[in-house]
C-alpha cells in the first residue's frame, strides 16, 4: 500500500476503539441510524446520485491531492455509506476505522460540493451521517471526542472553569480600559440589547479578542452584556463529532442564557462553525425551525456598525490584505458581500481571492477537522495545497479570517507552505483603525 500522510497516523480514538467493536454492535448501530434516525434525504440522495463525478472539482482535498479519486466527495460516500447500505451494516472494525478517518479528517462538511452536484445532493449531510454512526460506535478521533467531552462536562469547548471565565472577562475589562478608559464588559446585565457570545478558545488562549470587542462595543455605544454562567460558549464540536444530544444540550443552554438575560439578539464573535451550530444544526435538533432569538454574526454586526456610521474609520489599515470566506457564514449565510464591504471600509489595499464568496475553498480546518488534533495535521496540510496556491496568488501580506477555524487552519497552511503571510481577525484591524470619540478617551 502506498504511504500517504494518513496511513501511519496513530489515533487511539479510532484505532483502539474500532478494534474492540463486535460485528453485531456495528450492524445494530448502522441499522439504527439508517432506519430510525434518517429518512427521506438519505434515501433520495442515495437513489439519485448518478455517479457522474461532477462533485469532485469542488473538493479542496481532491484538488490538493492531485485528483485522487479516493478524495472526491462521491468517492468518500462510496467508501462509507454505499458500502454500509450494500452490506447491510455487516462490516468490521477496520472498515469503521477507515470510515471514521474519511468522514472526520478528509471531509470538512463545508458543503462546497453541494453547489457542484447537479442534483444539489447534500454530500456533507451524508458524511455527517457517517460521523453519527461513528460517534454512536465510540470511534471518533481522540482530540475531537475530548472536545465533545468538554462540551458535555463544562458546556464549553476547552474545559474552561466557571471562575476562569468570569475572571478572564474582568481581566480583559481592565485591559481594554488601558485603551479606552470607559470600556466595560457588563456581566449579567438583564435587559441589555445584545448578548455577546464567543467560543471557548477566546477566554482560554486569545483573551485579547474579548478586550478588543469591549472597545468596539464602547465606541459603538452598544448596550450589551455577557453571561457570568455557563451558556456563554457558542461553539459546538459535538455537532461535528456526531453527538447530536450533546450538541442540542449546548445550544439549548446558549439560547436559554440569552433568554434569561432578556436580550433582543445575540451578537457572536468571528467564528463560523459556531454560527452554524447556533443558527442551524442546534435549533433544528431541538425543534426550533429558526433560532429563537436573532443571532448576528460579527461580519454582519461590523457591517451594520460601519455602514450606519456608528463606527468611523480614523485611518485605513495600510497592509496588503486578502480574505478567507468562512464556509458557514458565506456559503452558510450569504455574508460574502458584507465581508468585502467591511474589509474595504477598514483596509486600503485589498486583493480578492479566486475563487471567492460561496465558491471559495474551505480552510480545511473547519467541520471539526482541525479538532482532530496534531496526529492529523500533516494530512490536513496536504489536503489543502489549493488554498496555499490561491492565497499566494493574491500577493497579500495579511489574510483576514473572520472565523476561528479558518484562522488556525490558514495559519497552519501559511506555515506549512511557507507563504510568509499573517492572519488577522477583523476585530484586530478594527480596533487599530477605528476613531475613538473624544468623550470616551476619559
Amino acid at each position: 500500500m502506498k504511504e500517504t500522510p494518513e496511513s501511519k497516523v496513530v489515533d487511539p480514538g479510532i484505532d483502539e476503539t474500532s478494534r474492540r467493536l463486535t460485528p453485531e454492535k456495528i450492524q445494530r448501530v448502522v441499522k439504527h441510524v439508517l432506519n430510525k434516525e434518517t429518512a427521506s434525504r438519505l434515501q433520495v440522495y442515495l437513489d439519485t446520485c448518478v455517479r457522474c463525478g461532477l462533485c469532485a472539482e469542488a473538493c479542496h482535498t481532491y484538488l490538493s491531492r492531485d485528483k485522487d479519486p479516493n478524495f472526491s466527495p462521491v468517492g468518500k460516500v462510496k467508501a462509507t455509506l454505499w458500502e454500509l447500505v450494500k452490506r447491510d451494516g455487516k462490516v468490521d472494525g477496520e472498515f469503521v476505522r477507515n470510515m471514521a478517518r474519511i468522514a472526520f479528517t478528509e471531509c470538512s462538511v463545508c458543503r462546497r460540493c453541494s453547489m457542484y452536484c447537479p442534483f444539489g445532493i447534500d454530500i456533507a449531510y451524508l458524511l455527517l451521517t457517517v460521523r453519527r454512526i461513528c460517534s454512536l460506535l465510540g470511534v471518533v478521533p481522540l482530540y475531537l471526542q475530548d472536545t465533545t467531552n468538554s462540551h458535555a462536562a463544562t458546556q464549553n469547548q476547552m474545559w474552561v472553569q466557571q471562575d476562569e471565565w468570569i475572571d478572564t472577562l474582568q481581566w480583559q475589562e481592565e485591559e481594554s480600559q488601558f485603551e479606552i478608559p470607559s470600556c466595560r464588559i457588563p456581566l449579567e446585565k438583564e435587559g441589555a440589547d445584545v448578548m455577546y457570545s464567543v467560543i471557548a478558545p477566546e477566554p482560554k488562549i486569545l483573551a485579547q479578542l474579548l478586550g478588543n470587542m469591549a472597545q468596539i462595543f464602547a465606541v459603538a455605544g452598544e448596550n450589551w452584556t455577557m453571561p457570568a454562567t455557563d451558556g456563554w460558549d457558542n461553539s459546538n464540536m459535538a455537532m461535528y463529532s456526531g453527538d447530536f444530544e450533546i450538541m442540542g444540550r449546548v445550544e439549548r443552554l446558549h439560547w436559554e442564557t440569552a433568554a434569561r438575560l432578556r436580550v433582543k439578539k445575540i451578537v457572536m464573535g468571528e467564528c463560523g462553525h459556531a454560527f452554524r451550530g447556533a443558527v442551524y444544526d442546534g435549533p433544528r435538533w431541538l425543534g426550533w425551525q429558526f433560532p429563537p432569538i436573532p443571532m448576528v454574526h460579527a461580519i454582519e454586526y461590523y457591517y451594520d456598525l460601519l455602514s450606519s456610521g456608528r463606527i468611523k474609520v480614523r485611518e485605513k489599515y495600510k497592509e496588503h490584505v486578502t480574505i478567507q470566506d468562512p464556509c458557514n457564514t458565506v456559503r452558510g449565510r450569504g455574508l460574502g458581500d458584507k465581508l468585502r464591504y467591511v474589509v474595504n471600509a477598514l483596509c486600503e489595499n485589498f486583493t480578492d481571492v479566486t475563487p471567492k464568496q460561496e465558491h471559495n475553498y474551505c480552510c480545511a480546518a473547519g467541520g471539526g477537522v482541525i479538532n482532530c488534533g496534531p496526529p492529523w495535521k500533516r494530512s490536513r496540510m496536504v489536503s489543502n495545497r489549493v488554498k496555499a496556491e490561491q492565497l499566494a496568488a493574491t500577493g497579500a501580506d495579511i489574510v483576514i479570517t473572520p472565523c476561528h477555524n479558518c484562522h488556525s487552519g490558514i495559519e497552519d497552511i501559511i506555515g506549512h507552505y511557507d507563504l510568509g503571510m499573517h492572519v488577522k481577525f477583523i476585530s484586530e484591524i478594527m480596533v487599530e483603525v477605528m476613531e475613538v470619540p473624544e468623550h470616551l478617551k476619559g
Binding site: 427521506s40 433520495v44 437513489d47 479519486p69 445532493i121 425551525q289 450569504g334 465558491h359
Partner: protein, 215 residues
C-alpha cells in the same frame, strides 16, 4: 407478439412508469415528513430559482468550468426526452390509436438526435472508463443503465434504416423502450424524478434559509 408489443406492452410500461413514479415521489415526500426538517423550509421562490439555474445551460458555476461536458450533457438529456416524444413514427402510432397528434420532428432531425444520444451515451461510457474519478465510483450497474437507456435508440435507428429483420427489430425496439420506461422509477434513472425535489430542497436550504446562492 408484434401486436402485443405495440398494444398492451406499451400500456403496461406506461402504467408501471406512472404508478412507480407516483409511488416514488409520494413516498419521498412522506418520508420527508419523518425527516421533519425538510418540508418546513421549502419555498416556491427558492425552489424555482434553483431549478432555473440548474436547468439552464451554463446556469451554474460548475457548468461553466466544463463547457464541453455541459453542452454534451444538455444535448443528451434534451434529445433523450424529446426524440421519443416527437419522432414521426411515434406520433403516427398515437394518431392511429387515439386520433390525437402533435407536431413531429422531420425524419432527418430525429435521426440526428437519435445518433447524438447514442454518441453521447457512448461518450459517457468511455468517460466512466477513462476518467479515474468516475471509474472509481462506477459499478457494472452503471453500464447496464446506459445500455438500458441506449437500447431503444439503437434499435429505433436500426428499424429506421431497416437493418435486420424489420419486425424483429421493431419488437426488440418496443420491448427496449418499454423496459426503459418501466425501469425509470426503480433504477437510478429515477434521478429524473428526484431532480426537481433535491434541487428545490437545496435551493431552499441555500436561498431561503442561508441567503446564499447554490449555483
Amino acid at each position: 407478439m408484434y401486436e402485443f408489443s405495440r398494444g398492451p406492452l406499451v400500456w403496461i410500461a406506461f402504467a408501471i412508469l406512472f404508478v412507480g413514479s407516483v409511488y416514488r415521489i409520494v413516498s419521498a415526500i412522506v418520508l420527508a415528513r419523518k425527516d421533519k426538517v425538510v418540508l418546513p423550509y421549502m419555498k416556491w421562490k427558492f425552489s424555482l430559482r434553483s431549478l432555473f439555474h440548474w436547468s439552464l445551460p451554463f446556469g451554474s458555476h460548475n457548468m461553466r468550468i466544463r463547457p464541453a461536458f455541459t453542452v454534451l450533457s444538455f444535448l443528451f438529456h434534451g434529445c433523450l426526452l424529446l426524440t421519443p416524444l416527437l419522432t414521426l413514427g411515434h406520433v403516427a402510432l398515437v394518431r392511429e390509436s387515439w386520433g390525437i397528434s402533435w407536431w413531429s420532428l422531420p425524419d432527418g432531425l430525429s435521426t440526428m438526435m437519435t445518433i447524438l444520444v447514442i454518441i453521447v451515451g457512448v461518450f459517457f461510457v468511455l468517460r466512466r472508463i477513462a476518467d479515474p474519478t468516475v471509474r472509481f465510483v462506477t459499478s457494472y450497474l452503471d453500464f447496464v443503465l446506459v445500455i438500458l437507456v441506449l437500447a431503444p435508440f439503437v434499435t429505433g435507428l436500426m428499424a429506421y434504416y431497416q437493418v435486420g429483420n424489420y419486425e424483429t427489430v421493431m419488437i426488440v425496439h418496443m420491448w427496449a423502450g418499454a423496459i426503459w420506461l418501466a425501469m425509470i422509477p426503480f433504477t437510478r434513472i429515477a434521478h429524473m424524478l428526484f431532480f426537481p425535489l433535491t434541487r428545490a430542497y437545496m435551493g431552499c436550504e441555500f436561498g431561503h434559509v442561508r441567503s446564499a446562492r447554490d449555483w
